[in-house]
Each structure stands twice: as C-alpha cells, then as structure tokens.
Subunit: 413 residues, 2 copies
C-alpha cells in the first residue's frame, strides 16, 4: 500500500502539469480501451456474478454488479463525456490588482490524490477515475471484493489508455482486494499520500469512513429530505412535484422522505396529496391530521421523522407555518436536499436562505439533487459537509487553488 501511495503522489505531480488536450486524449484512449476490453470485462464480470449468486446475494445487489454490452458502452460513453467537460484546472478564480503594481491571481489547481472506496457498482472504477484525472488528480480506488475482478479488468484497460497518451499509468490505481487492511490505511491517508477520501456505497460504509477517517471526506451519510407545501402552492404542481420527489426513484439520496404541510393547507392540499401518494403505492406514515384525512395512512412514530426510508414510504406531518417547518427540518433533516412548494415568493426566499442544506429548492423536485442535473457533467458523489465541497461534487470541487503573484521588483515596506 505504501508503494501505491508513493506512485500515486508521483503520478499526481505529472497530472497536475498535464495540458487539457493531453488529459482529453488520455480519456478518449481510456474509453476506447474499455470498449476494446468488452469481452474480458464481461468474462470477469461473469465470474463475479457467479460468486455473488452462489453467496446468495440479493437480486438488487446482483443487478448493481451486472454488466452487459450496453452497460459497458455506457461506461465508455460516460468517460467521453467527462473528457468533454471544461478543464477545471487553471481557471483564474479571482484577480487582485494592488496599488503597488502587484498582479495577484487565484488560480485553480488539482487537489492531489483522491481515495475512492466503493462497493458493488463496477462502473465507479471508470467514472471516479476519469473525474479525478480530468481534474488533474491521481486516484487510488478500492473496489468491493464482490466486484473486484470486473473492476480490475476495467482498471487495466484504463491504465493502458492513460499510458498511450503519455500520462503515468499510476494515475488510476486499484488496490489489491486481498489487502484487508487497505481501507483502514486509506482512511489514515496512507502516510500523507491521500488528500481526501470519497466513499461510494451504503450507509454502513459511509458511517465507517466518517468515523475513522483522519483525512477529509466528501460524503453524505443520508438524505432525510423534506418537501414542505404551503396553502398557496398550485395543487397540480404540488401533486406532481411531491410524487416525483418521493417515487421517481425511491433508492436515491435525493428522494423525499418527509412531507410537511402547512395546517392552513389541510383543507385543500392534504387529502389530494395523500391520495396521490397512496394510489401510487406509497405507504404513508402520518400524524393525526394525516390519518384523519385518509384511513390508509398509518401512524407515524417519533423515529419516522428522522428516517431515510429509501423505499416507497413517506412520513407526513402538519406544521404551523414556515417557522415550524424550518424548526422541523433543522431538527430532523440531514442537510442534504429540501424543497418548498409555494406561490409566496417571500416565504420561498426565507426557506432558501434559512434551511441549512447543501441543496434547497423552490417549486422543483428534490430528485434534481444530482451533478448531471446541475450541469456538472458528472459527480463523484454528493457531500453534506461544509468544508471544501458541498452538494454534487463535480470536477470543479475536485480542485484546490494557489496564488500567482506577478511583480516588477516590488519589496514590502
């Protein structure tokens, strides 16, 4: 592992100085390499799948692990899309002309070496590796043991493409899965070789990473996301946004988990929204008012307000106006994504200002919490911390900066 760290640091040094054109050439070669390795990748994937099935892994797990020619092509295409992004390195973020004639620029630079720890989805190998490379960073990837053969085949194809473009093949390294201590070492920063760790996987992985990491982490533990509906919200709009926020996909971190409704909207919005959710097959756990509005609503317990179901279940509660909604979100939320549905512009602005979440929305679905939907091209994850990166973490947030000062012999008095 120490050797992997040293090689990553050396690769990061070369990547930091690589031109946009060379990084794009490398990623094009990577995409072509993945396509060319399709047979090998699928053969290794078949071995991983056979093991997963004989180990009795659930169908959802097997699905995440499964590749087919279409999915391999999608992986290659995603790499090409990352190659087409604007280069996040070398942007002039600010300039300061000083009275003494010094010209000072804040310029974006790569972060360094990024450790990515993921579970079953083998496409993360290509996605995360390509995002790190486009931002001039080296990546150390730790795949789940169940997807290791598939990830290895993808990583080998990537390394070849990178080397073809004249960049170090060590730019993207996969940690040997046999090394049981690898995750622990990565979380301590591998002796200064890793600058930041990104966990990609379920709650238990993120929890362990956040608890044990001695280096910065870009992550979110959960998305207990709220949709708060006021009486002035157009009912049809509210219905479609609530349904989409909860049910478009129930397993994503941007899915809504709690519906808050102003008591003033109880007579107009409550029953229709509950009916829409229940008719669509969603379980609703509500307070007394919600249960009175529809007999299919089950009683909510205190724990429901803080639960990320990741399933077709929603908690529902009436609140006494905006302040009560803000209090509820501050108490039970997870600083991920929260939405207000209202025609009251002042209330919307207060909600957007006061809710302390990475993403706050007015009259739009919480399911837009996604780097692609933000126009970032791709994301390595969504972060709920306040340090460095927050919200969808795209290539821009995988950079740091430095100051370039140009003078003509100035000295400080």
């Amino acid at each position: 592992m120490a050797d992997i760290g040293r090689r990553a640091r050396a690769a990061a040094h070369a990547l930091a100085l690589a031109s946009t054109e060379r990084k794009r050439r490398a990623l094009s070669a990577v995409a072509e390499g993945i396509r060319a390795a399709e047979r090998t990748v699928l053969a290794q994937n078949a071995l991983d799948l056979a093991d997963a099935r004989s180990a009795g892994r659930p169908a959802s797990f097997v699905d995440r692990l499964t590749l087919d020619p279409g999915r391999v092509e999608a992986i290659a295409k995603a790499v090409e899309e990352i190659a087409a992004l604007p280069d996040p390195v070398g942007r002039v973020l600010a300039t300061f002309e000083r009275p003494n004639g010094l010209r000072i620029e804040r310029v974006s630079t790569p972060l360094g070496v990024i450790g990515v720890i993921f579970e079953s989805r083998p496409n993360v190998t290509a996605d995360a590796g390509a995002l790190c490379l486009m931002a001039g960073n080296a990546a150390i990837l730790r795949a789940g043991s169940e997807s290791f053969r598939t990830s290895s085949a993808i990583a080998a194809a990537m390394a070849e493409g990178i080397a073809q473009a004249g960049l170090p093949a060590d730019a993207i390294q996969l940690v040997p899965v046999r090394d049981r201590e690898a995750v622990g070492l990565m979380l301590t920063g591998l002796g200064g070789a890793i600058d930041v760790v990104v966990p990609r996987g379920g709650r238990s992985l993120v929890e362990r990473v956040q608890a044990d990491a001695r280096v910065p982490v870009f992550a979110h533990l959960e998305g207990v996301n709220h949709v708060y509906v006021q009486a002035s919200a157009d009912l049809d709009m509210a219905r479609s946004v609530v349904l989409n926020s909860k049910l478009r996909r129930t397993g994503v971190c941007g899915a809504a988990e709690t519906l808050l409704l102003d008591r003033a909207a109880a007579g107009t919005h409550l029953a229709p929204l509950l009916k829409a959710l229940l008719d669509a097959g969603c379980e609703v756990r509500g307070d007394e008012a919600a249960r009175a509005a529809d007999p299919r609503v089950r009683p909510a317990a205190e724990a429901d307000w803080a639960t990320e179901y990741l399933d077709a279940v929603i908690a529902c509660r009436l609140v006494d106006g905006l302040d009560a909604a803000l209090d509820h979100i501050a108490r039970y939320g997870s600083h991920h994504t929260d939405a207000i549905l209202t025609a009251d512009a002042a209330a919307a602005e207060r909600f957007l200002a006061e809710v302390d979440s990475a993403i706050v929305l007015h009259n739009a679905s919480t399911q837009f919490a996604d780097g692609g939907e933000f126009g970032f091209g791709a994301e390595i994850g969504i972060a709920t911390g306040r340090m460095h990166a927050r919200g969808p973490v795209g290539v821009e947030q995988l950079t740091s900066f430095k100051y370039r000062v140009r003078g003509s012999g100035q000295t400080r008095p």
Copy 2:
C-alpha cells in the same frame, strides 16, 4: 466545554442569518467597547505581564503580550477595518441556467463554528473573533494562559458590543483557561460543535494541532521559502528583493530561508548578493560555490536546506537551471511561498505553474505573503493545505456555500 459548544452552535445559527448591516453594527459596537474598556484591559494586562516577568519569560514573549493605549486603539481600529470589508456571505459564486428552466445558484454561506487556539498575543481575541463574525461564524477562542486575563477583558468588551447590536453574545466565546482539557476537546471538534480549528502560534502548537485534530485545520507548520535567481534577473532588483525577502522581518512566516541561484549567474550575481546579505548582518550558510565567492559564508549542512530559521540566517545553493531549482523546492520546501527572479517570462510562467506552493511570485518579495498585502483586509492565518482554504485565510475563505434552485414545478424525468 459541551455547553460552550452548544451555545456556539446556537449563536452560529443566528449569525448565519444576520444582515450585513447588523454585523457591521455589532463590530462597530465591539470596537467602541474595546476603546471604552481600555483601563480595564490595561489593568488586566499589567497582571499578566507581572506574572510573565516573574516567570522569567523572554523579552520577545513579554513584548508580544504587552499592550499600551496605542495598541488597544490599534486593536479597535482593526475591528473597524474588518467591519468595512465586503460581506463574504450571500455572494452568488456561480449560476447555472438549465434547459428545463431551473435556475441554480451557488451562494456563499458561513462555515459554522470556528475554534481558534492561540498563545501570547491578546489582539488575536479581537482579530480572529471579528473575522469569524463578519463571515457569519461563531468563534470559540482558546487563549494562552499567560494572556488569559487580558484576553478575557477584551472578550468581555466584545460580547457586550455584540449583544448591543442584537446578536448573540455567545458569537465569540473564550474558553476558561482553567480547563486543561479544553485544547484536546476542541481538536476533536467538541462533539460536532466545531467545524474547523485555526492554531495561531509557534511551531509546537501547530504541530500538536495538526497531529491530533479530528476536524479540519487551517494552518501552516512552517515557511521554508525560496528565492530563486536566474542570470537574466536585473541585479539591483534581485538585490533589493532578496534583502527584503530575508531581512525585512526575519520572524514572519513569509520570510525567505533559502537563496537558490542559477550556476549561470555565479559570475554575475552570486558575490554581490552574498555581499549585500552579509553586509546587512545576515549569516549565510552556503555550498562550496557560495563559500568560494565570499569567505564569510559558513558551510551549509544537509539540514540547512530544510530549516526555517526565522532569524537573520539564509541558506544558499547554486543549481543547474530551472529544473534543478524546481526539484530542490519540491524536495525541501513547505508549500508556503516561493519566488523566482528573472527576466525570462517563459521560465517565470513555468515556475508559477510548477511550484506547488500556496503563493508563488515572480519578481517580488516573499514577504508579501500576507492577507493585508493581498487586499483581503485581514487574515486569520496562512494555510498550506489544499483543502478549502490555501494561502492567506481572509473572510472569504471562512465561508462555505450551498445551492439555491428556483423552479416552476419541474420534475425529473
């Protein structure tokens, strides 16, 4: 301590929503309060000074601790200057108009609660507290035990001013000095109550903070800063910049510690630069070429290349061109501040691009490494890490951001 954390978090919530005008009003009241408390502050300072002298503290320590009416006025004035800075909160950092009509803004927000651990300079109480407040953050300050009475008097005056403006007096809290465990607790984040720690003091303090902190740290351990001179550099310019970089103040982190000179400049620049330094009273520790150029130069040992003297001492070495200079800086530098002196624009651009330091300069003194000189108004410190803040940490770097999304009922397909 847990209570201090809870109160800071509550204060941070209120500060995050405070208007620019209210923050300015609070800081004006703080400045007036410090002026009004001059007698109390000086009386407490006299007690601290008496203890420091009877404990046999060195003169430099006593000087850093000493206040007089002029210094109290300077502290108040510095707070007013911070109040006059542009509000770093609420800036729209980027906007994204999406094809579906969503308008997405990245808007700056406060970081939260900032822990500042400092030693003898009591003015840090006011400086750091005011910077945190202007950026909408609560501050938990840990003063050195030797300056505690002075810092307490200043903090009390500040709390009164803050409360007068209708902001929570807990916005700036001073940790009781009796609590020996306070620093350790702050470094673990005080149970989630502290978002980032800033150490202000000597090497041993920063070393301990960097080693033990479980929360992010904005700091630099040392500034082993280089001035690299090429043969094309104007000699008079080089002489004045080298002298200024080393000797303007030898105890600041932006002072130069190593002079690198191209071998091609040995015949033209070496002897005059050494003579200027030696004549000005600077000790020079050099390689063989430097010793041959001036008999007053002492031999440099390997350790000299990695030493931050913070004194009138400089290491000097000849290098074989730009690549060798870059290698030397990569090997021995501390990623703080490095300068190239040259008339070769291409060499300067390569140096600015390739040296991985927070601040890189062309034809200017390393002593410009300072938030005030950058136009930031004030700084809480200088950071050499790559996460979140780098270089002089002013009010802007004491902020985070969030995404505000405004829609008209959009749902995600």
